[in-house]
Amino acid sequence: MIEPGLYHVLFISSALFFIGTYGFLTRRNLITMLMSLELILNSVNLNFVAFNKWLWPGKLDGLFFALFVIAIAAAEAAVAIAIIINLYRTHQSIDVEKTEEMKN
């Protein structure tokens, strides 16, 4: 095994991103979809931090980006959950396949 470096991390983050994407595309439960989204955001953070560490360590752009993304993720998750809860109230279900009243 070789010394792990930037490319390893990038591989992990990309993989996570697409794992999250796959989950987002296939999970039927809204909350699990939300979880997949969290995976996506995390993979991005990993990217930022890795780039900051190995490529552009002079400034802290990557780090701060990751930091703020975490904050945004929290806010987004909060609003999403609020919406999901409300949806549960109106639909008695959080199955995404059941919320397709509006189409065509």
Binding site: T21, F24, L25, T26, M33, V96, E97, T99, E100, E101, M102, K103, N104
Partner: protein, 649 residues
């Protein structure tokens, strides 16, 4: 010099009649319309007389040649390429003679109609139309410009249309006027193209210029026009042929004659005026107008003109023998006589030549035009009286009217004799000249003409005996069924006098192809044949029809198929019907309409339908499922990335 204003008045007076009667007649003038129009026309006639007199005797002749005088021209429309459409007056022997014929016959008809059309609901309109016709016809004969002729040509056509369709509530009249207009229109199409051809090569529309440039073989225009060819025929010939087609349509020459018999649906005086004396000879007039060009630059065309004329003469004469409607008989007779005039032109040459033999046909033709106008108008007006009397056009409803209508009888007889070519009536002289000219030029034409002349005598007297002799009149009699008042009789008598005596006019002195007076010698030995043949025809008709025997019936049965062929007018109408209805309407028209509805329209509708269809087809894309949306998102991003990273660099 001629007085321009007076010449203009010749036209303007009838036009005024048209406008006044047309606009105010129905409401305000009513019964006075006839008198008004007649007075206007009388004035016009007097001016014509004065002008013609002036032309022939005072200022027309210079150095022994009658000049072409253009006292007035107005640039009506000048095109950028130097062509000018002018409105003007051209005075020459031809137009002066025509002025007289037209205005005189028109005046007679005006007077005659005062009584004949009395009580018509659209009395004023009738006179308005007559005024329009007189205006257009006079304008036509005075035209100085070939486009001007076309202009009035069409106007004449439309007034003819209006007058044929005067009894517009009769479907047959509507059909007839339509037919007349369309058939002549078809011919005019040729005329129009012919004008374009001629004007292109001459660079002018004036008769003077056209004649100058095209009738001398040396001129560059003629050379060019002869050089350019299409389908092996020179452009000049094309032009002349096309112009002649126009004339043939108006003059009801074979095969464009089919409208003329039907045109008899119009009031009888109208038939006398338009479809016997004036408008139908316009074709003759047109060829005569351009005669130098035909004779010098297009002898081949002139040859075919002669043949068309003589065939028309024969065919019409044959058909006339079998028709039972007196107006139709007269119509075919008209056609036949115009055939005479045309082939006379066709056999003529330009100029005088030895003994004036070369240009004889030209003069003879116009002489016949002149005399024919008189006796044919007389025949029609007489027929009008008869028809009024018996309320029918059919010969079988008539017979033995000699006593009832004495004046008419005499006049009709004179006209019949004139047309049959019995000396000393006018027809004899003109016809004799025509036959002589034909004899000099082409014996075949002469013989056909001769036979037709015999037939003419036969059918005219068949008509005469059928109306006035044979049986005794069995119709009911009432007081008002007399011959009619002076308004009817005066025109009859005047025309009869003319028909009887016009032959003695030294016509060649006035009208000739090159303007030089032409002596027309009288060939006694030559005229024996036609006269004898004519008399034979008369006797034969008398033997068959004078006593109302059953001989005609037997002959009819004996002739069988041939009779049918004649009776059905050689089936020409049917052929036309077939071509128009089956071909033009059913095949081309319907196909075009179908194409428009289904192909052109259909394509547009299809485009709409396709758009809507595509819209429905794509509906699945908007599935309402958020994950599918994301999948599309991902797919789109992927596709873009793939496209712009690997494919499009």
């Amino acid at each position: 010099m001629p007085n321009t204003i007076l010449i203009a008045l010749i036209l303007l007076l009838p036009l005024a009649g048209f406008l006044i009667n047309g606009i105010f007649g129905r409401k305000y003038i009513g019964k006075l319309a006839g008198i008004l129009s007649t007075l206007l026309l009388l004035a016009s006639f007097i001016i014509c007389l004065y002008t013609a007199y002036g032309y022939f005797y005072q200022f027309g002749m210079v150095d022994g040649i009658y000049q072409k005088i253009v006292p007035f021209e107005w640039n009506w429309l000048s095109f950028a390429n130097g062509l000018v459409l002018k409105m003007g007056f051209l005075l020459d022997p031809l137009s002066a003679m025509m002025l007289l014929v037209v205005s005189f016959v028109s005046l007679m008809v005006h007077i005659y109609s005062l009584s004949y059309m009395k009580g018509e609901e659209r009395f004023a309109t009738y006179y308005a139309f007559l005024g329009l016709f007189s205006f257009s016809m006079l304008g036509l004969v005075l035209s100085s410009n070939i486009f001007q002729i076309y202009f009035f040509w069409e106007l004449v056509g439309v007034s003819s249309y209006l007058l044929i369709g005067f009894y517009y509530d009769r479907p047959s009249a509507v059909m007839a006027c339509k037919k007349a207009f369309i058939v002549t229109r078809f011919a005019d199409f040729g005329f129009l193209i012919g004008i374009l051809v001629l004007s292109y090569y001459t660079g002018s529309l004036d008769f003077q210029t056209i004649l100058e440039r095209l009738s001398s073989p040396e001129s560059s225009e003629t050379g060019m026009a002869l050089q350019a060819s299409f389908l092996g025929i020179s452009a000049l010939s094309w032009g002349l042929i096309l112009v002649f087609i126009g004339g043939a349509g108006k003059s009801a020459l074979f095969p464009l004659h089919i409208w003329l018999p039907d045109a008899m649906e119009g009031p009888t005086p109208v038939s006398a005026l338009i479809h016997a004396a004036t408008m139908v000879v316009a074709g003759v007039f047109l060829v005569a107008r351009l005669f130098p060009v035909y004779a010098i630059s297009g002898p081949g065309v002139l040859e075919s003109v002669a043949w068309v004329g003589v065939i028309s003469a024969l065919i019409a004469a044959l058909i006339a023998c079998t028709q039972t409607d007196i107006k139709r008989v007269l119509a075919y007779s008209t056609m036949s006589q115009i055939g005479y005039m045309i082939f006379a032109l066709g056999v003529s040459g330009y100029g005088g030549g030895n003994n004036g033999d070369i240009g004889l046909g030209y003069t003879a033709s116009l002489f016949h035009l002149f005399t024919h106008a008189l006796f044919k108008a007389l025949l029609f007006l007489g027929a009008g009286v008869v028809i009024h009397y018996v309320h029918s056009n059919e010969i079988r409803d008539m017979g033995g009217l000699k006593k009832k209508l004495p004046v008419t009888h005499i006049c009709f007889l004179i006209a019949c004799l004139a047309i049959a070519g019995v000396p000393p009536f006018s027809g004899f002289f003109s016809k004799e000249e025509i036959l002589y000219a034909a004899w000099l030029h082409e014996p075949a034409i002469f013989f056909i003409g001769l036979i037709s002349s015999g037939i003419t005598a036969f059918y005219m007297f068949r008509l005469y005996f059928g109306i006035f002799h044979s049986r005794t009149y069995k119709g009911h009699e009432t007081a008002n069924h007399a011959e009619g008042g002076p308004a009817i009789l005066i025109p009859l008598v005047l025309l009869a006098i003319g028909a009887a005596t016009a032959g003695f006019i030294p016509f060649g002195h006035f009208v000739s192809s090159d303007g030089k007076p032409l002596d027309m010698p009288f060939h006694l030995r030559f005229s024996l044949a036609p006269v004898l043949l004519g008399l034979t025809g008369i006797l034969l008709a008398g033997w068959l029809y004078a006593s109302g025997s059953d001989r005609p019936e037997k002959i009819r049965l004996a002739l069988g198929g041939f009779y049918r062929l004649l009776y059905r007018k050689f089936y020409i109408d049917e052929i036309y019907l077939f071509v128009t209805r089956k071909f033009l309407f059913n095949i081309i028209g319907r196909a075009a309409a179908w194409t428009d509805k289904n192909v052109v329209d259909g394509l547009v509708d299809l485009l709409g339908a396709a758009t809507r269809g595509l819209s429905v087809l794509l509906r699945g894309m908007q599935s309402g499922k958020v994950q599918q949306y994301a999948l599309y998102f991902l797919g789109g991003a992927l596709a873009l990335a793939f496209l712009f990273i690997y494919v499009w660099k």
